[in-house]
Assembly symmetry: C2
């Protein structure tokens, strides 16, 4: 039995009872002969409460101090979890991101992991301890300041530690049973996916699936760390994310690989906004200047579309999507760069939604794109932007059209569950 | 203008308003040309809330994890305070005990400071920042684990930093106006002391005065760091604690040293219990064995009295006092050592109180001891134990007798204020 990294989110450790329940599950893994490293998020609403306090003191808190503040949250949950494990008669030690060797760059509030040097974790494990590590945080390489990793930071901590410690698997415990073929809140007949490739999972995450975030899957793929997403409220198998389907033993046929469907799932996202830069001179370097301005503001964009230039004016429009939360910053950055770039005006639209179909077999199945557009058309959905990759087609529509569009596509690609029973979604134990 | 260390307790930073008020005061010191280092405690009830959470998870939490948990408290207050200062347009950076170079031994929950290496603080100051440091915490020299300093830890952090940074003064901001000749809650006519020597302050602290704790004064004396204890709710001068009285300028007489009274004050303490070891063989090494057992349990004792041995039995009794909170551990330690020591039985009494008279001129004023006992006798107070030092007389009485005894002694030594006005005690701004 090897080393297992388990990650528990804030809803799993929301109160003392949750912490005790999680402690039991951790101890089970230890009893099964595993070395166990646990990555834990802040308890329930702690982070929101800290943000609220910060806003009372200063409406625009500075990055360094904001990180210092937020990291108090995991410090509390990890220490309590270690205590709860000790109470069950097992040895446990908690470690901050810094102590665990999570080295990051210096971009406060959304730092990136540069290196993981888990010497203290290794020692703690070798001495028979369960190691509890604060998720979401690290220490900057140059200034030795405390940093936080931003959204999905705890999942990324878990995968990064799993990679650095050469773990068998990184188990991400959450409040849903796994990754589904679509959001079960929108599509009642969505099915849990038993296995999905890193590539398809990356596309689903990029397309709005909330269960695993893109950066965490990317990290796992780079180091080939299998992820098992599962519920902390049930004992059920969840979704495996890995390079190869896991081998399953069945009575009839001996060993058999889980069959991979052509289409993994339908994702949607209504958290983005569309920015259109109107009247851009159609000459080399203009698009680069626009996206350099966006990049310099540390903003990530998603889809980009450039209209065909009108020959008469020599001007074109460039549209892109990005998180609504970054909308203001993008507009500011572009306004500032307007004299240098020389466009006419900016348009901002936050009433959009994105629907994506993801599956590795897509490009080699010529009917997929056609079926996708037919399904949308039959549902009366108007398409504003289109973007494709090797294993994904995404369209932007009006936000209001999203639920109907997702259901139509899910049905058209035969993803609907045959059972009429309600999908198990979320825990009963909360 | 030199470097000032300011320390703010939990009641001064209990909420966002408190943090903003403290931030203004800090900025004033900075504007006056000082380099400012601020040591801050956890907000209001944060520490109690964390302890409560720990107890829900595990009734006897382990030292290392308990320290990890508690240190989240200062992390929150210091980050918020830095944000509040930045909002006022000044640069501030917060530092954990570890980052500030507070190196301790490995005794969790009551670690001692071994060394202070404030390189990062010095750099932050040189770059024009106000440095905010988490009180109460450090990092252990050998294991690099997070430690807490126990009671009075934040005051000690402040004095230790003041010493390491060669500060002009260490200002301890609290919710009272300074050190008084007696506890104003007990003695209405108690007076604020303008100046007190390190030695007298040490005795007052050891005798139950709560304003400054013994270890902090001891540290200040060793490095000759003047302490100014004052209210964070008023702008009044508080009490200076230093080796020499500060020089004051008066209109009439030019420079004049503050006159030192023979008696500094009357302290009382009802937080101790009395343990009596009954029937100890009266031979060399017995007392040593008893106090070795206590010391091995990491317990500090206060007063010790050995009765005259009864010649007929060759047995004697040894009584000592120690904090009630350590009572259980002391009894356990002695019971465990009973076979080796060979006493008859143990008696435990937690209904005692201690009254102490402190003043440097005491030993050279022969009437002091006599007046002290007369005052107690006139007040009808029965004395159970007596202990004296160069500058202090302490007696143990029934706990119920303490308030009357303190008032009687305060009056007998002419410490009562002539004014009938209520003493300013605590702030009006809370």
């Amino acid at each position: 039995m090897g080393l297992v990294v388990q990650k528990y989110g804030g809803s799993s450790v929301a109160d003392a009872e949750g912490i005790k329940r999680v402690a039991k599950r951790i101890v089970e893994a230890k009893k099964n002969g595993h070395q166990v490293v646990v990555v834990v998020s802040a308890m329930g609403d702690t982070t929101d409460e800290l943000i609220d306090l910060a806003e009372q003191v200063s409406p625009m808190p500075a990055g360094r101090e904001f990180d210092m503040l937020l990291t108090a949250g995991e410090r509390i949950s990890m220490a309590l979890l270690a205590m709860a494990i000790k109470k069950l008669g097992h040895e446990a030690q908690s470690f901050t991101g810094s102590q665990a060797g999570v080295i990051t760059d210096s971009v406060h509030n959304k730092a990136r992991i540069i290196d993981v040097t888990p010497g203290r974790i290794r020692t703690a494990l070798d001495e028979g301890n369960i190691a509890i590590v604060a998720g979401f945080q690290g220490v900057s390489q140059d200034k030795k300041d405390i940093t936080t990793l931003g959204r999905g930071g705890s999942d990324t901590t878990a995968v990064a530690l799993a990679a650095a410690l050469d773990a068998e698997v990184c188990e991400i415990y959450t409040d849903v049973d796994g990754v589904f073929t679509a959001d079960p809140r929108v599509v009642k007949k969505a099915q849990k996916i038993d296995w999905i490739s890193f590539e398809d999972m990356l596309e689903l995450a990029a397309s709005g699936s909330k269960v695993l975030l893109h950066r965490c899957v990317e990290y796992a793929r780079r180091y080939n760390i299998p992820i098992h997403v599962r519920s902390s409220f049930s004992g059920l198998q969840g979704t495996w994310v890995s390079s190869e389907p896991p081998v399953r033993k069945t009575q009839q046929q001996g060993e058999q690989k889980v069959e991979q469907a052509i289409i993994s799932g339908v994702a949607h996202d209504t958290s983005e906004a569309k920015v259109t830069v109107v009247g851009v001179p159609d000459k080399p370097g203009e698009a680069a200047a626009i996206f350099r301005a966006i990049a310099d503001a540390e903003l990530n964009i998603d889809m980009v579309v450039q209209n065909v230039s009108a020959a008469s004016t020599g001007l074109t429009d460039i549209s892109f999507t990005l998180p609504k939360t970054d909308g203001r910053k993008a507009i500011d950055a572009l306004e500032k760069a307007k004299p240098a770039i020389g466009f006419d005006s900016l348009r901002y639209d936050d009433q959009i939604g994105k629907i994506s179909l993801v599956g590795a077999g897509m490009k080699t199945n010529p009917g997929v794109t056609a079926s996708f557009f037919e399904a949308l058309s039959d549902a009366g959905v108007n398409i504003e932007l289109i973007s494709t990759s090797e294993i994904r087609i995404s369209v932007v529509t009006r936000a209001d059209d999203v639920p109907g569009a997702v259901r139509a596509v899910h049905t058209a690609f035969g993803l609907d569950s045959e059972s009429d029973e309600a999908v198990v979604y979320g825990g009963t134990g909360r």
